[in-house]
Subunit: 215 residues, 2 copies
């Protein structure tokens, strides 16, 4: 029987707020108050503040005397993020290829297959979720919390911009093909190949996302 880990309100508020801010629900520069969040989320200030402290640590918000300043992610941030990911994410896949278990490999494959499944349906939301999950799984399966902690915040900050990406069906297909290539290298335990293909994939994502004029 599966364990049902209780998720604290603090954690739920963090996840929800982070998603909402990074998906662009609150515009950069807007100022919120804790009491507004209390009303919106239906919980007291304590778990809200614990979540806000974590978001502040990620430089997604700033807690000022006037309220909570939405910082979000700038286009310049995106450039820095991709320059870092290009140099790190390949190593992470390398580690994953060396450390992944059969069970984990199965989960990776299922995620990939779902991504491929939703593309002809044109379900951009689910495509994005699976695309994103594929990367997150690779971080986890590297077996290193250092890679995970370093790459996850960078990956999450691209969310808002990736949506535009998957809505283009050509790019969505290309992305899924690249994911499959990475998956097959990992399944074959070819770490060097997995690394190389991951670097290529990030480069392509960067070209596609930074090529546009956003913000």
């Amino acid at each position: 029987m599966l364990e049902h880990k209780t998720i604290s309100l603090s954690e739920q508020v963090f996840d929800r707020l982070e998603t909402e801010i990074l998906s662009g629900k609150y515009p950069r520069g807007e100022i919120l108050t804790e009491m507004k969040l209390v009303q919106d989320m239906g919980v007291s200030r304590t778990p809200i503040r614990e979540a806000l402290r974590r978001l502040e640590q990620e430089h997604i918000i700033e807690m000022t005397t006037r309220g909570i300043l939405i910082v979000g992610v700038t286009h310049k941030d995106l450039e820095d993020i991709f320059n870092i990911r290009i140099r790190i994410e390949g190593m992470c896949s390398y580690e994953a290829a060396k450390n992944i278990t059969e069970e984990e490999l199965r989960e990776l494959r299922e995620t990939l297959e779902l991504q491929e499944f939703y593309i002809p349906k044109g379900d951009a939301d689910r495509i994005k979720i699976m695309d994103s999950k594929f990367h997150q799984l690779l971080y986890r399966f590297s077996g290193s919390s250092v890679y995970y902690d370093t790459l996850m915040p960078l990956h999450k900050k691209v969310q808002k911009y990736r949506r535009v990406s998957v809505e283009n069906e050509d790019r969505a297909r290309q992305s899924a093909r690249e994911h499959r290539a990475i998956y097959e290298a990992i399944a074959a335990r070819d770490a060097a190949l997995a690394e190389q293909r991951t670097v290529e994939h990030i480069k392509n994502a960067m070209d596609h996302i930074l090529g546009r004029e956003i913000d």
Copy 2:
């Protein structure tokens, strides 16, 4: 007149706890309680918990039903950290060389000179502080919060192991020489050279720290 920014108790508790854990005051595996920290720090649970949530996000502790589990940094973590820093920190210096102001350059030089000053005195504590500050300044002067947020946690996690490093006078001198070489490349606005020298510096630090058998 200089502004005196008030630092919240939450922030103070975070800094102190992080330093104490990363310096090895609490052994990995030990379990603390919030009430113990309330007594030790002399503040209520609220700011303590806000600090704990941030430490948990950095994977330095885990908040369990039995108490606060000290996770700290393993030797494996160190390897991952250096593999990442080698690939990122050079780019950060490259950006710093391009963006640094005269005022910032002066602060960097003063930090370097203090580091050099304390070496013949054998003041390991201050040497370490200045050595560490030099890197932190480079993160700041890159002008990118992405580089800062990515590198700072990795840098801080090496603290405990760097102390051993600076207590060796030969290595302390070498490190200061390498810092000076980086500084001069930045002062000359030679970004490519600053990058190259930084990568070399991190490689040497890795060889020196990972070469030992610690933990």
